[in-house]
C-alpha cells in the first residue's frame, strides 16, 4: 500500500508544481523576461561587474517568483486562514505579523525594543545636510493604525511596541532639536475619527489624514524656520473632496482575502483653487505631467477597479507609489527646495506639500540604488524632511547609515 500511496503523492506533487510553473509562465512570462533582460538594470550601481549583473538578474527572477505566481493569492489566503484557525491573533504573511483590531481593521504589529540608532542616524544625516548645504530638517512622524486606546485584541498589547517606539524616537529627535510633526496630534487637532483617518483593509492612513498632516507640516516649517509658506494652500476647506465609497481593498485584504475585511472609502482631494504643477517621476517607467494638481499629480488610473471586482487594490497610491522618486515644481508656491526622504505614507504627504512648496523632491531610500548622500548632493535642498511611519523608520535610517 505504501507504494500506491507514494505514487499518488508523487503524481499530485509533481503535477502541482508543473501546473503552477506552466500557468505562471503563460500568465507572467513577459514580466519575467522583462525583468531578466531589461529592468534588472535598476538594481545595478554604476560601477558594476559581470557578477553584479548576474546577481541583478537573479534578483529580478526571485522577485518575480515571489510576486508573480499563478495561484499566489489563493495560497496566501489559505495560509492566513490556517493560521487564524486555532485562534491565533498574529497572522504572518509577507514577512509581517498582522492582527485584527477591535475596530475591524487590520494592523501590522511592531515588536521589539526601540533602538536609538534609528534616531541617531536621522540626527547625524540632518547635521550633515545642515553643515554641507545649510539645510534645516524636520521629521513628520506618520503613526499607523493605533489612533485610539485599547484597539489591540487579547494580550497583543504586551507584544506590540508601537507606542513606546514612537514615544522614545520622538523624544530623542526632540532632544537633538529637530522639529516634529506627529500625525497623532493632527488626528486630535483636526477632530478626525478612526473611520476617516485609517484604512481598515490597508496599512496606510487615509488621504484625508495625509492632507491634514501636510497642512500641519507646513505650519511647523513656518513656526520653526520662518519660511512664510502659505498654510491656507493645504486647508481642507479649500479642497474639493470626491468620495469613492468602498473603493479600496488594500494590502491587508490582498494577504487574507477580499471577503475577510471591509473595503475602505477613498477620499480624492484636490484644491478647489487654480493650481499649476509640473510633476516628474523617475524610475521604471519615467513620467512627466503638467497641469492642475488634479491632472498632474493624481493617478486616477489607480482608482480603476481590478478586473472583475468592484474595488481597486491600488487606490491608496493615487498620490504616488512608494517605489517612485518624484519631483514637483509649483511656480505659484514659495520658491524653496525640499527633499523628502519618505516611505509610502510620505508619498501622499509629499504630493500635498507640492501645493505650498516650490520644489519637492521625494525619494524612498529602500527602492533607490543611489545613495542618500548623492541625492542630497544633487538636490542641494533648503529643507530636508523625513516622513515615515515607525515600521519603516528604522529601515530608512539603515539606508542612510549605510552611506
Amino acid at each position: 500500500m505504501r507504494k500506491q500511496v507514494n505514487r499518488a503523492l508523487a503524481i499530485l506533487f509533481v503535477g502541482f508544481i508543473c501546473l503552477v510553473m506552466v500557468l505562471t509562465l503563460a500568465k507572467y512570462g513577459r514580466n519575467y523576461a522583462y525583468g531578466f533582460f531589461k529592468s534588472y538594470t535598476d538594481q545595478l550601481k554604476t560601477d558594476n561587474d559581470i557578477f553584479d549583473r548576474m546577481s541583478a538578474r537573479v534578483y529580478k527572477l526571485n522577485y518575480n517568483a515571489e510576486k508573480r505566481l499563478w495561484g499566489r493569492d489563493t495560497l496566501r489566503h489559505l495560509s492566513a486562514r490556517a493560521q487564524m484557525l486555532p485562534g491565533k491573533h498574529l497572522v504572518n504573511i509577507a514577512d509581517f505579523d498582522m492582527v485584527k483590531l477591535k475596530s475591524g481593521g487590520y494592523y501590522n504589529v511592531l515588536h521589539g525594543p526601540y533602538d536609538p540608532t534609528s534616531a541617531n542616524n536621522v540626527i547625524a544625516f540632518a547635521q550633515m545636510a545642515e553643515e554641507k548645504y545649510g539645510a534645516k530638517s524636520l521629521v513628520v512622524y506618520c503613526h499607523s493604525g493605533l489612533y485610539e486606546e485599547d484597539l489591540l485584541p487579547g494580550e497583543t498589547d504586551a507584544y506590540d511596541n508601537l507606542d513606546d517606539y514612537s514615544r522614545l524616537i520622538l523624544e530623542d529627535l526632540a532632544k537633538a532639536g529637530l522639529p516634529v510633526t506627529d500625525s497623532r496630534d493632527t488626528y486630535v487637532g483636526h477632530g478626525l475619527t478612526m473611520d476617516k483617518a485609517v484604512n481598515k483593509s490597508d496599512m496606510h492612513w487615509t488621504h484625508l489624514l495625509a492632507l491634514n498632516t501636510a497642512c500641519d507640516t507646513v505650519k511647523t516649517l513656518n513656526d520653526a524656520f520662518g519660511l512664510g509658506l502659505d498654510e491656507t494652500a493645504l486647508d481642507e476647506s479649500r479642497f474639493t473632496l470626491d468620495l469613492y465609497p468602498k473603493r479600496l481593498n488594500g494590502e491587508f485584504a490582498r494577504r487574507i482575502g477580499d471577503a475577510s475585511v471591509d473595503n475602505d472609502d477613498v477620499y480624492v482631494l484636490y484644491p478647489a483653487y487654480d493650481t499649476h504643477i509640473l510633476y516628474e517621476e523617475r524610475g521604471t517607467p519615467e513620467a512627466t505631467r503638467e497641469g492642475s494638481f488634479r491632472d498632474a499629480v493624481i493617478k486616477y488610473e489607480n482608482l480603476e477597479c481590478d478586473e472583475g471586482k468592484d474595488y481597486s487594490s491600488d487606490a491608496y497610491y493615487i498620490y504616488g507609489h512608494y517605489l517612485a522618486q518624484t519631483h514637483t515644481h509649483n511656480d505659484g508656491a514659495v520658491p524653496l527646495k525640499v527633499l523628502v526622504i519618505k516611505d509610502s505614507f510620505g508619498s501622499t504627504l509629499s504630493a500635498f506639500l507640492s501645493l505650498a512648496i516650490g520644489d519637492v523632491y521625494a525619494v524612498d531610500p529602500r527602492s533607490t540604488t543611489e545613495s542618500m548622500e548623492s541625492i542630497l548632493d544633487a538636490v542641494q535642498p533648503d529643507i530636508l524632511i523625513f516622513a515615515c511611519c515607525a515600521h519603516t523608520l528604522s529601515n530608512v535610517q539603515a539606508e542612510i547609515a549605510a552611506d
Partner: protein, 475 residues
C-alpha cells in the same frame, strides 16, 4: 545590493522553477549517464550561483584541486610516501580554504583584541555552505587514499559529488564512500522516485510549518532586552529554539535525502529521533549523524579514538573533536564555547558512568533535554555576554518575573505549534497506529493523506512569503 536571497528549498524559485526544470531535464536524458550527470552538475552550479555568483569560483577551485590531488593519490599506489604526502597536502589545502574564507576575520579580530594589534579586518565574505562542501572534498581525498572509493577520472563526476545541490548548502555531509558507486552506476526506479518525493514533502512541511513558526517565536523573544523576558518565556524560547534547529536541519536533511533519491542516490540518515535520548552521549548518536561520523572517522579515530591507555589522552582526543565541532559550526566564540560545553558534559558522562546510568532511567530524558536546551542557548546568542544574560533570566538570577502577560500571549499564540513540535519529535506514529488498531493499509492511507494536507499548508506558507529564515549562513 540588498534583498538577494539564496535559492533555498522552501522558496518559490526552487519549488516551482528550479526543481521542475531539473527533473524535466534529468529524466529526458537519464538514459545517458554522462548527460544525466552533466545536467545535475550544471544545475548544481546554477543552484549555488543563485545566491552569490562569485563564490562558484571558490567552489570550482576547491573541486579542481581535490580532483587533481585524488588522481595523484590514485597514481601513487606503489609509492606510499608520495601517496601520504599528497594526502597531507590535500587536507592542509582544504583546511587552508576554510581558514581563509571562514576563519580569517575571526582570527584577525581576536589577534587585535588579544595583542592590541591594528590589523585591518580582511572582511572576507563567507561562501555559503563552505563547511559542507569542504568536508565533502576532504572526504573524497581521504576515502580515495584509504581505498574506500575509486578516484574519478572525469572532473565532472567530482564536481557532481561535491556540488550536488540537494546537500550542498545544508548537508547532510555525504561521504564519498557512500555514493562513489552511485555517481556512475546508479539506477533510478519509479519506487525510489516516489519515495523521494514523499521524503521531500515531509522535510518541506517540517521546515515551512514547524521550523519557521518556531523561529518567529524564538526571534521575537531573543530580540527583547534582558529585563523584558520572564523566566518561563526564556525556557519556552530556549526549548523552541532547539526544536526550530531540529525541524529546520532535519527538514533540510529529509529534503536532501528525498531529492537524492529522486535522482537515484541513497544518502545516509542524518537524524534519528534525538528527542528520545536519555543522555547527551545518546543525543549526539542521534543528532547530525553525518557530521558526527565524519569527525569520528577522520579526526577522532586517527587521534587514537577511545582505545587509548590514559583517560587524559581520551579527554584530549574528545576535546580536539569538540573544539573543532564548535568551530565548524561558526567562527564565533559562542560556537567554540558551545562545543567545549558539550565536551565537558560528554567527558563527564563517559568518565563517571553518568551517561550509562541515565540511559537506564526515565529521568535521563529530562536530564538530556535540559542539558541540550541550556547549551544550545549559546549558538542562538549573538555573543557570550548575551548568552550569559539569557542564562541569568532562565535561572531567575536577574529579578525577571516568573510569568507575565507577554508569556501568556506567546503561549496562546504558539501552543498549536509547540505541541505538534514536541509530539512530532517523538515516535508517536507507531503509538497512534497501535492505539487506533490500524492495519498497514489504513495507516499508509492516513499518513499519506496527512502528509498531502501538511504539504499544501507548507506550500501556502512559503508562497505567502511568511517568515523563512535560513540558519546555515555561519556553516
Amino acid at each position: 545590493m540588498a534583498g538577494i536571497s539564496d535559492m533555498v528549498f522552501t522558496s518559490n524559485a526552487f519549488l516551482f522553477f528550479f526543481l521542475t526544470l531539473t527533473l524535466a531535464l534529468y529524466f529526458i536524458v537519464r538514459k545517458s549517464r554522462v548527460l544525466a550527470n552533466a545536467v545535475l552538475t550544471v544545475m548544481s552550479l546554477l543552484f549555488y550561483a543563485w545566491g552569490e555568483p562569485k563564490f562558484v569560483l571558490v567552489m570550482m577551485g576547491s573541486i579542481v584541486m581535490n580532483w587533481l590531488l585524488a588522481l595523484g593519490i590514485d597514481k601513487s599506489a606503489s609509492r606510499p610516501g608520495r601517496k601520504k604526502a599528497l594526502l597531507v597536502l590535500g587536507v592542509a589545502l582544504n583546511v587552508c580554504v576554510l581558514a581563509v574564507f571562514k576563519y580569517a576575520n575571526f582570527a584577525v579580530r581576536n589577534v587585535n583584541a588579544l595583542f592590541g594589534a591594528h590589523i585591518a579586518d580582511p572582511k572576507i565574505a563567507l561562501p555559503i555552505g563552505i563547511s559542507f562542501f569542504t568536508f565533502q572534498a576532504m572526504s573524497y581525498v581521504i576515502d580515495v587514499y584509504r581505498g574506500r572509493g575509486r578516484a574519478q577520472k572525469h572532473l565532472m563526476n567530482v564536481c557532481l559529488y561535491i556540488s550536488f545541490f540537494p546537500q550542498l548548502i545544508a548537508g547532510p555531509i555525504v561521504r564519498y564512500e557512500t555514493v562513489a558507486e552511485e555517481i556512475t552506476g546508479r539506477t533510478e526506479t519509479a519506487d525510489d522516485f516516489c519515495e523521494g518525493i514523499r521524503r521531500f514533502m515531509l522535510g518541506f512541511s517540517k521546515k515551512a510549518i514547524l521550523a519557521n513558526t518556531l523561529a518567529r517565536l524564538v526571534d521575537a523573544v531573543y530580540v527583547l532586552p534582558e529585563g523584558e523576558i520572564s523566566v518561563t518565556l526564556s525556557w519556552i524560547a530556549a526549548s523552541a529554539y532547539l526544536m526550530q534547529v531540529y525541524y529546520d536541519f532535519s527538514g533540510y536533511s529529509d529534503m536532501a535525502i528525498g531529492l537524492g533519491r529522486m535522482f537515484g542516490f541513497h544518502f545516509l540518515e542524518n537524524f534519528d529521533m534525538p528527542f528520545v535520548s536519555k543522555s547527551v552521549t545518546e543525543f549526539w548518536r542521534r543528532w547530525h549523524i553525518s557530521m558526527c561520523t565524519w569527525f569520528r572517522d577522520y579526526v577522532f579515530f586517527p587521534l587514537g579514538g577511545s582505545r587509548v591507555k590514559s583517560k587524559w589522552r581520551l579527554a584530549f582526543n574528545m576535546l580536539v573533536v569538540w573544539a573543532l565541532t564548535g568551530l565548524w559550526h561558526g567562527a564565533e566564540w559562542t560556537y567554540v564555547c558551545w562545543g567545549l560545553l558539550f565536551f565537558a558534559v560528554l567527558i563527564a558522562e563517559k568518565l563517571t558512568g553518568l551517561g550509562k546510568w541515565m540511559e537506564k532511567h526515565a529521568v535521563g530524558h529530562l536530564y538530556a533535554m535540559a542539558a541540550v536546551v541550556v547549551i544550545t542557548v549559546l549558538i542562538r546568542s549573538s555573543d557570550i555576554s548575551s548568552a550569559l544574560a539569557f542564562y541569568k533570566t532562565m535561572f531567575g538570577l536577574n529579578g525577571a518575573p516568573f510569568f507575565d502577560r507577554l508569556t501568556l500571549f506567546m503561549l496562546k499564540e504558539y501552543a498549536w505549534y509547540l505541541m505538534p513540535a514536541v509530539l512530532c519529535g517523538l515516535p508517536v506514529g507507531r503509538a497512534i497506529k497501535n492505539r487506533l488498531r490500524l492495519g498497514d493499509a489504513a495507516w499508509e492511507l492516513l499518513s499519506g493523506a496527512s502528509l498531502a494536507l501538511t504539504t499544501v499548508l507548507a506550500v501556502a506558507n512559503v508562497v505567502a512569503g511568511g517568515y523563512n529564515p535560513f540558519i546555515y549562513y555561519n556553516f
